[in-house]
């Protein structure tokens, strides 16, 4: 056994596979979308309403998918409620010093505010088509009026950002290689969540033929800032790994540099500067890069484990 290995290399992988990768990706898109919806609701102009609708719908769909993925990933899925209620006392289960416990409550708050944002967005359009459902919706119309609308938007911003960033902190609060060898993973996932959510909203707007120039310009500029910061955060993250960076001296390291940083960030940045490439290609690359980033971080660490007296990498 090598004696110069970091202590994190002697741990067992928790088998966080593709379900968790998808959850981190979709939860990040949802969190960023709700941030966008909240910002546009509070500081936007009337022409932003179609984008608010798209971002809110996207957030609520992501909330539902996230919950299903998280429950499906449990080894005993029927006991999912043990995360929020203590099974022996039926009292609330909350440990602020456990990032996973925090994450469960963040997802609950996020789902609530994604729901109120969606109800607010539905007031604009004739949906759902059934009159009975529409009249039911009118009962909760107060959500769209002050002060509830403001509370809903601020709650959406806070819970959206929390959902986007907590996943990196969750991984850092382990003893696994790569994840716990740096404190930068939260920022990396946060910035990636923001860039992928903006890419998703722009793709949706293109698909739904929503085109408001000033909103699109703002989204593109904000996306550009998020992508540049994501690139900086990834560099800081890799540098902060120190000796543990050897965990990425393999195909996952190549995927991080070429797939995530070059194809998923630098190329979309260049394409966005040249506006004749449209939305679809750069946004699709950003989304692919965001998914690959999570796969690199999770699977790059998962493959390291001790078998017998050997560290397998």
């Amino acid at each position: 056994m090598q004696t110069n290995l970091p202590s994190t290399f002697f741990t067992a992988p928790p088998e966080f596979g593709w379900i968790i990768i998808l959850y981190f990706f979709i939860g990040g898109i949802g969190g960023g979308s709700l941030l966008l919806a909240g910002l546009l609701r509070l500081f936007g102009i009337p022409a932003d309403r179609p984008y608010i609708r798209l971002a809110s719908f996207l957030a609520v769909v992501c909330a539902g998918i996230s919950a299903v993925l998280l429950i499906a990933d449990l080894s005993s899925p029927l006991r999912f409620w043990h995360m929020v209620i203590q099974d022996h006392t039926l009292l609330p289960m909350f440990k602020w010093w456990s990032a996973m416990s925090d994450g469960v409550w963040i997802l609950l708050a996020f789902s609530l505010f994604a729901g109120t944002a969606t109800i607010d967005a539905l007031q604009d359009i004739e949906w759902p088509p059934m009159r009975t459902l529409r009249s039911l919706l009118r009962v909760v119309r107060f959500i769209s009026r002050p002060p509830f609308a403001t509370i809903s938007a601020i709650g959406g911003i806070v819970s959206g950002l929390s959902l986007a960033g907590y996943t990196g902190v969750l991984l850092a609060e382990t003893n696994r290689p790569i994840w716990s060898d740096s404190s930068w993973l939260g920022i990396v996932f946060l910035m990636s969540a923001l860039s992928t959510s903006m890419a998703a909203v722009m793709l949706l707007s293109h698909w739904r033929r929503v085109h408001e120039t000033s909103t699109l310009e703002w989204l593109t500029r904000f996306d550009l800032v998020a992508m540049v910061l994501e690139l900086v955060a990834i560099v800081c993250f890799v540098i902060s790994l120190g000796n543990a960076a050897q965990a990425l001296y393999n195909v996952w390291g190549v995927a991080l540099v070429l797939g995530v940083m070059v194809v998923g960030i630098v190329v979309p940045l260049v394409l966005q500067r040249r506006s004749n490439h449209g939305i679809v290609l750069p946004a699709s690359l950003v989304l692919a890069g965001g998914l690959l980033l999570r796969a690199v971080v999770l699977l790059g660490s998962e493959r390291i484990h001790v078998v017998g007296t050997q560290v397998v990498r």
Binding site: M1, T3, S7, F10, T11, A12, P13, P14, E15, F16, L35, L36, L39, L40, L42, F43, L74, S75, S76, R79, H82, M83, Q86, H88, M93, K95, W97, S98, M100, S101, I157, L161, S162, G165, G168, V169, A172, E173, T174, N175, R176, W179, S180, S182, S183, W184, G186, I187, L190, M191, W218, R221, F222, V225, L229, A233, H305, V307, G308, T309
Partner: protein, 292 residues
């Protein structure tokens, strides 16, 4: 080294209970007298009714690289005798044997992160996973610095050594130490075990084994000391043990703070740029050509 301990909900005990609390108990494993018989592994499996490795015993899996076929601690194997085969030359070398188990850390990382409260500390200062509460989120598996915990494929929950809580609570010795034919695994009050272990290390050094030292016996060391500690004669990594085990919460405050600052910055930047855009639109709308 992080020696700070965060509050644990399930650790709350009344002063009366504390007064009558039994002395902390654990294991001292003297690896120099382990003969690799794996009686401890078998006794553990028998007593705790654990399944065989792999597919539940239908096919016996061989490692193909060692006489050791258990290979690792898991939810199905709570004891694992490691065979460390050091043979630099064909006729020169040694075997190190070490019966590995949960360390029942004084500051337990698994207990710290468990989001359901399934992991508790017992009156014997040992760490136990309550199988009826655990939902298999696997957070504890990544948090354990020793790679001890795994999913048991019968219960579908995270499991590990309980230090035979069902035996110790009625005054019996754990199954593994009871079965150990050489007393390599010794069970007892931690204070007594530390004295015995230190005396044994001194004895070995006096006899010429100058590499003998105790791993995890220092209450001021990593994780506040381990309630299952070892006498080793080589570097910790040689035995598959981390040199510097830490609490996972070491990254919580810094990681959360960095993310919160970045999140706040992005929200403020978004708000300011949107507000600027709105002000510009209002200004444009109020220019004479728009007014007319």
């Amino acid at each position: 080294m992080g020696t700070r301990m965060l509050p644990i909900v399930s650790q709350a005990v009344s002063p009366a209970a504390l007064a009558s609390k039994p002395e902390p108990t654990g294991f001292f494993t003297d690896t120099t007298i382990c003969i690799g018989c794996k009686a401890c592994e078998v006794a553990c499996k028998e007593w705790n009714q654990l399944p065989a490795r792999g597919d539940g015993g239908a096919h016996l899996e061989m490692s193909g690289q060692s006489y050791d076929n258990t290979l690792e601690l898991s939810g199905d194997s709570w004891r694992h005798v490691k065979f460390i085969e050091q043979f630099p030359e064909p006729y020169e070398g040694r075997w190190l044997m070490m019966s590995d188990v949960c360390k029942h850390c004084v500051q337990a990382p698994c207990l710290e992160v468990c989001p359901t409260g399934a992991i508790i500390r017992t009156e014997f200062d040992t760490v136990v996973i309550q199988s009826d509460t655990c939902n298999g989120c696997r957070d504890c598996i990544g948090a354990c610095p020793f790679g001890v915990i795994g999913i048991n494929h019968v219960s579908n929950t995270a499991q590990k050594c309980t230090l035979c809580y069902d035996r110790t609570s009625v005054g019996l010795e754990p199954a593994c130490s009871k079965a150990c034919p050489t007393d390599s695994i010794q069970f007892g009050p931690i204070s007594e075990l530390r004295v015995r272990a230190e005396a044994r290390a001194v004895q070995l050094r006096e006899q010429g084994e100058t590499r003998a030292y105790l791993y995890g016996a220092d209450p001021n060391g990593p994780l506040g000391g381990l309630n299952s500690f070892y006498l080793l004669v080589d570097e910790p990594e040689v035995y598959g043990l981390p040199r510097d085990p830490k609490l996972p919460s070491r990254n919580l405050a810094k990681g959360s703070l960095l993310s919160s600052i970045a999140a706040f910055g992005m929200a403020v930047a978004g708000a300011l740029t949107l507000r600027g855009r709105r002000m510009k639109e209002v200004a444009e709308a109020s220019t004479p050509e728009h007014v007319s």
